[in-house]
Symmetry: C2
Subunit: 209 residues, 2 copies
């Protein structure tokens, strides 16, 4: 016999599904709602239902959006000669929060990962090609830069190569440049603790000063 | 202008209210629901609403319950000569999962903590006294043991003292024994890393073998 009422067990089970949340954390989260004055649980419930009902994917960049075309793709202030390919919507938030980029985005929806059973057909490569063609048509310069900003790991590298190969014809034509974010030491890092690959990349990418 | 749609921001804000969940974790949790097939967010929302509607506090032990009297207080298998006073409902779960205790419980709702502005009047001392009197009436032996299982820290100790003082008359009468969980080294601990207070308590509570 379980000690907890079924409706409490249910909430714990739901929270346990979250990435990085174990049964103990899920229980603590659930008890927070049991303890807190009436309303907090209902507020979260309503926010979730509202999100489920109102959020769709932008038809241009596939970021989460509450409109058919998101505010970033719809903005006249963004440069249309650059498109930055990221894995997840949170990556767009990271770029926007640091205000270092002015072009468009494209959310791939993940990376090629044979280990997790994610192949090229599971990602938005077709849509990326369509979007790039659309941008190329609009561009006076007829020269588009695709910045691949997948994470700097094995899967991210493989996905970057795949994108490069996919656009090979355009690259040879000279209508497209596919670039990759620089790799090296992060700001504030301690050289002593840098891993081998980071050091290798930092050395390969060295610049004259 | 925020990058995220308002309904997504709302869910992040709600998750951020959880103890130990920062804005980054809240965003990751929210994106889990955005990514997962429709239904997960609604399931959590429904579970929360269901919990809010169906859960009350047991009128005997003040643990969370879906009935007026919880299954533990209602059980004929529990020994009614012992009552274990804990801070929170999760402490009851910890005891029950380890199956080391057969008496009743009482959930105090916290501990006396001047730093957090929690005084004796904010906790269920009156209800504890009532429950103990109720148990004493039922008991043939007329001898009740109150096991104080508050956490082994300053506030927990102060609360244990408060309970001891509250029942002083009963203790002198011989109708009540107030005890405290043993303190010492936890199983599997490394003496080398034990803190001073734990070592002190372990030494004070030493037993002949």
């Amino acid at each position: 016999m379980s000690v907890l009422p079924k409706s409490v067990e249910n909430v714990i089970a739901q929270f346990s599904k979250l990435p990085g949340v174990g049964p103990k954390s899920a229980a603590r989260m659930t008890y927070h709602y049991l303890r807190s004055p009436n309303g907090d649980a209902t507020n979260l419930a309503n926010a979730l239902i509202d999100m489920d009902e109102n959020i769709c994917f932008c038809t241009k960049c596939y970021n989460v959006s509450d409109k058919e075309v998101c505010s970033l793709c719809d903005s006249l202030l963004r440069k249309n000669s650059k498109i930055c390919v990221v894995e997840e919507p949170l990556d767009v938030v990271a770029f926007e929060n640091s205000a270092v980029y002015e072009g468009f985005y494209f959310v791939l929806g993940g990376v090629i990962s044979p280990a997790e059973g994610i192949g090229a057909e599971d990602l938005r490569f077709k849509q990326l090609k369509e979007r790039c063609n659309e941008l190329l048509k609009e561009l006076e310069s007829k020269r588009l830069e695709v910045i691949v900003a997948t994470n700097p790991n094995l899967e991210g590298e493989a996905t970057a190569s795949y994108i490069h190969d996919m656009f090979e014809k355009y690259i040879k034509e000279g209508t497209m440049v596919v670039s990759r974010l620089a790799m090296g030491l992060p700001t504030g890092a301690d050289l002593e603790y840098a891993d081998r690959l980071t050091l290798k990349r930092a050395l390969e990418g060295r610049r004259s000063i």
